[in-house]
């Protein structure tokens, strides 16, 4: 019951955030919304796991978290430096 409530809240929030991703207007609004979509997808995953009584899928939520970080940072690094491989050769 409370998981259902939380699921509904997350879905509503997801809809709002996706609408922000679609409306933009700048690329950074989209990137911000994209990152929030990732966060909400992780939370949805966790809550749905409890809702269906099988919360073991959380490893995947962790993977999502790491991927979300990589994806968003790749986009932002591109804007900051204009090149994904910026400090590849500087030892980082």
């Amino acid at each position: 019951m409370m998981f259902a409530a939380a699921t509904l809240a997350i879905l509503a929030a997801l809809a709002l955030v996706v609408s922000r991703a679609i409306l933009g207007p700048t690329v950074f609004d989209r990137a911000l919304a994209g990152n929030s979509v990732g966060t909400l997808a992780i939370l949805l995953l966790a809550v749905v796991g409890f809702l269906t009584g099988r919360p073991e899928w959380l490893d995947i939520a962790i993977t999502y978290g790491l991927l979300n970080l990589i994806g968003t940072l790749a986009v932002l690094k591109y804007f900051r430096y204009g090149d994904l491989a910026y400090d590849d050769e500087d030892g980082a």
Partner: protein
């Protein structure tokens, strides 16, 4: 005792859901990227935090709880990195924040501005029809 835990996790999960909704609404109400980021960080910290604490109470002392703690730590350590990168990238690209009050000394340019690149990106954004 079980009842106490049950009620506590109810409260935490509903509080978390509330903050998630607030953050999402805020992302649609705020006027520009920088102010929207504040709303998004409500989702990342308070919303996710309360929700996951509630789920931990439900999970009890199991591996599931440990994984939830990892997810929470992940949010707390990666969230600021992303926000910071986003703000800096937006500023570098020439997105001017809407400000009521600018206390930066002399309103100097952003740190190590890569000017040529920034103009290109800003020009692209100008063409966007919202």
């Amino acid at each position: 005792m079980d009842l106490v835990i049950e009620i506590a996790s109810w409260g935490l999960i509903l509080t978390g859901s509330f903050f998630i909704m607030v953050g999402a609404v805020g992302m649609n109400r705020m006027p520009d990227v920088f102010t929207r980021m504040h709303a998004a960080s409500v989702i990342d910290t308070t919303g996710a935090g309360f929700l996951i604490f509630g789920l931990i109470l439900q999970a009890g002392f199991t591996l599931v709880a440990a994984k939830l703690v990892f997810i929470l730590l992940l949010f707390f350590f990666t969230g600021p990195v992303v926000s910071h990168a986003l703000a800096q990238a937006a500023l570098t690209a020439g997105v001017e924040p809407i400000l009521a009050d600018d206390r930066r000394p002399g309103h100097q340019a952003t740190p190590d501005d890569t000017a040529g690149r920034a103009e290109g990106v800003a020009a692209e954004q100008g063409e966007q029809p919202a």
